[in-house]
Symmetry: C2
Subunit: 314 residues, 2 copies
């Protein structure tokens, strides 16, 4: 009986997801530390209603201005605002504040050199109801790249690596998730996207949870090979003060997206997450110059063009 | 008949408000230009459904890092999001998209020197329905101060100047509007206010529109004497790199408030306002250091203490 209970426990999707995100956190931190010799600061926090998180943030590194690799495993009773931030259907919240469980990893990396893109990845598992017979569950997540200057081969490499993972599982996934990524990271008031995309999915439960867990685990594994070769290729390129300034302007847009539109940030605030862990996604420095317009035909203007009209990279 | 029509037109609250905000814009720009010799950039824009605005922004001045003095006079049909951003009651939006009119001035001044506080003021008149017999109308606005370092006498001067205007009109106004200001500029996820407050009111229509127009005009007149003596007193004080860094961290909080909570910013986006004019409120540079905590007992920590527990200045 005891063994039976134990086996059952290790088999819940909750605990398998928890194991997976912890392993991924370690892998990504290892990849960062291999390049940058500044150590991570680790903070372990508890969530008021249950669970908590482990935040690892590196700041003022030699290559990375700021890099956050956070996991959180939280549970509690769902508020109206949280239901809104997770876009739950009415039927799913008939019980006005049902119990929920959410486990996820969230990574944002802002390098110093404006030739190296900012990268983000996030994978999460969400459940409403009981752990052994959840009423509703889904996976969500994705990965996307935000360059200040475009290197076409970097965009192709990042997309191709994620497409390979998607294609291995379901050929409809990449075109669908690529499109969803372009839609999600749209900064309405700027009429441009945050970056050059990648993949993004939400409420994914159209296959068995077994299969989708395998898919999401492969996606999480793909981040290191998708991003770090780009960092190695670009981090020692020369750059000017004016290129750094452009990077800071782009980081202002990053802040605008995250604070105005990002549902992950909203969910974090509404679910009682730790503010410093949620806002590790913000860059060290962001700049707002009034009505800055890059010169016609410049690399900066070309970058904006791509953000206005998404490209098919692969 | 023609004269009668003209008189009627010049007497609508819409046109009087328009005249008042234009005059105030000129006065505040004059006060800024008297101190800073960098000229304002002026942009005139049109609103898709009617009206438009005049934005004046000064950047990289000798004293001011960024100063925006904007007016806008817009009209159109009210969307659900706008009704939400202006907190209209259901009865007021029974007509699903009633015509609206909004005229306002919005000022944000971010000085270079961290010893000089950032200041904001905003006054607006809002109408739903017909210009000669509006279904609903109100005035809104206020003024507040955001120091990085606290000089008690500056806080007293700013509050006292506004209290004098309020008291002259209605003794209940200052205590009420001071409290509303502390409530409005609360950054929930930081458990602190954006600054040391001032006055703030919304949906003000509990006196005649004549009387309230006189009140709001006096408030608008009070900004120059409330703020600029502080600038003159502090702008040449010496400061260190580390104090500048603290100012940038505080400006990060300013960005957080404006993008996450400010209903003016939300209203601007939803009503089809000009993005660059709305976001002139953001500082030139903002900084997010992970989990930065000012040393115990330092002036920075004392500043945060005041932002956590609002003070009665007068």
């Amino acid at each position: 009986m005891k063994d039976g209970k134990m086996m059952l426990e290790t088999k819940t999707m909750r605990s398998r997801m928890e194991y997976m995100i912890k392993r991924t956190q370690q892998q990504i931190c290892d990849a960062i530390e291999k390049l940058d010799h500044v150590p991570f600061q680790e903070d372990i926090w508890s969530h008021a209603e249950g669970g908590g998180g482990i935040s690892r943030v590196l700041q003022n590194g030699t290559i990375f201005e700021k890099a956050g690799v956070n996991i959180s495993i939280i549970q509690g009773m769902m508020s109206k605002e949280m239901a809104c931030a997770t876009r739950l259907n009415k039927e799913e919240t008939e019980d006005r504040s049902p119990p929920f469980f959410a486990a996820g990893i969230s990574v944002v990396i802002h390098p110093h050199n404006p030739m190296v893109p900012t990268a983000h990845t996030n994978y999460r598992y969400f459940e409403v109801g009981d752990a052994y017979a959840p009423h509703t569950w889904w996976f969500g997540g994705g990965a996307d790249l935000t360059p200040a200057y475009l290197f076409t081969e970097d965009a192709i490499h990042f997309h191709q690596t994620h497409k390979d993972v998607c294609d291995h599982f379901d050929l409809s996934f990449y075109p669908q998730f690529k499109q969803q990524c372009d839609n999600y990271f749209y900064i309405v008031h700027r009429k441009e996207r945050r970056g050059i995309g990648g993949i993004f999915f939400e409420h994914l439960n159209n296959h068995s949870s077994e299969d989708l867990f395998a898919f999401v685990s492969s996606c999480a594994q793909a981040f290191v090979p998708a991003y770090f070769p780009i960092v190695q290729q670009r981090f020692s390129l020369p750059f000017t003060e004016s290129q750094k300034r452009w990077q800071q302007i782009r980081r202002g847009r990053y802040v605008e997206f995250n604070l105005v539109y990002d549902r992950g940030t909203a969910f974090g605030f509404h679910s009682g997450g730790r503010t410093e862990s949620i806002l590790m996604s913000l860059p060290l420095l962001a700049r707002w110059e009034y009505d800055y317009q890059p010169p016609y035909g410049s690399p900066e203007a070309q970058m904006v063009e791509i953000l206005r009209t998404p490209h098919e990279w692969v």
